[in-house]
Symmetry: D3
Subunit: 69 residues, 6 copies
C-alpha cells in the first residue's frame, strides 16, 4: 500500500476521546512523541480503533505549517 | 508563543526544493524521522529559511488521516 | 516569529463556543470583519484563550477557495 | 448562493502569479488587507480570473490556526 | 457561479447528523455514491439545509489523497 | 486496509500533469465523473503512478465544502 503524501508515521493508539460527532485519537510515534488526529465517530467505528492498535498517520505536506523564531 | 494545534514538532531544515511558485522543505525531527512542508516561494522568502535553520512544524489534528491494516 | 503562510490577521477574541470535543473561536479583525477558527478543546485550553485576548489567525493560501459570480 | 463555511470575504483581484501547474491569486479585501489563494492553473482558467475581478474568498473555520503570544 | 476548485459534485442531502458544535451532512451524488461533509452547526443553519435539498460539494484537489495497492 | 475518512472512491488514473515541484492526477470514478488530486512529484514517484492504474481517492469530510443556491 502506497500513499500520495510526504508524511507517514507508524505508531500505537494511546488515547481516544469521544465527542458527540467527532473524536480525537492520540498515537504514540517514535521520538518519543505523539500525533493527534481528529475524525468523525463514524470513521472511528469503521476503523474499529482501540487503545494499543497499530496505525499509520498520514499528513500531506501542504497541511504542514512551518514557523521560525 | 502558543499554537491552536495538537501537533507541534521542532526540527532542523535539511532540504529545500524550489519549484516555480511552490517549494518543499524537509525538516529533520527527533525519532529520527522527517517532516515535509509545501508552501509558496513567497512564504519561504518571508521565513528566510536555509539548511540548518531550526523551525517548528505545526499540524492541526483534523489534517491527520489514520490508516489501519 | 515568522509563519510559512500567506494569510495572517491580528484580532481580538469576541466569542468562544464550546462543544464536547471541539470549539469555535470568533476573532474580530480590522475591516471590520470576523474570522472563525475551529479547534479541539485541548488546543483551546493550551492557548488559554478568553474573550478580549489578542491572537493571530493564520491560513495557508492553499486553504482559500475563490468563487466568482 | 450560500456556503457551508464560516469565513467569507469579498474583494478585488490585485495580483496573479503563475507557476507551471499552480498559481497564486492575491485579493484586496476591506481592512485594508489582502488574502492569498493558491489553486491549479486549470482552476484559474475555469474561473477566468484577471486583475480587477470581484471574487469571494471562502475559508472553512477548521483551516484557521490561532496563535497567541 | 464558478469555483476555484477541481472537484465539484452535485447531489441531494440524505442525512444530517448533529453534534453539539459540528454536524455531518451526507450527500447522494451520481454513481451511485455518497459524499460526506463536516461543518459547524452555524454553517448548517446559514445554509438552511434539510433532507432532499440540492447542494454542490466542492473539494480542492490538494485535499485529495491517492492510495495505491 | 481501513481509512479514517468518510469519502473513499475507487477509480482509474486518466491524466497526469507535471509541474516543476507538484503534479495533478485525474482519476475516473464511477458516475461517470472525475476526481483530481494535487501532490508533490516526490509523492507521485513514490506511488509510481501511470495512466490506467487503479487507485483510491480519500477525502476527509472536513475538507468538503457544501454550497446551496
Amino acid at each position: 500500500m502506497k500513499y500520495g503524501a510526504r508524511n507517514k508515521m507508524e505508531g500505537t493508539v494511546t488515547l481516544i476521546k469521544k465527542g458527540t460527532l467527532m473524536c480525537s485519537v492520540t498515537v504514540q510515534v517514535p521520538g518519543p512523541s505523539e500525533v493527534s488526529s481528529v475524525m468523525t465517530l463514524d470513521s472511528l467505528e469503521e476503523l474499529g480503533l482501540k487503545k494499543g492498535d497499530k496505525v499509520r498517520a498520514i499528513v500531506k505536506a501542504i497541511h504542514v505549517l512551518l514557523v521560525k523564531d
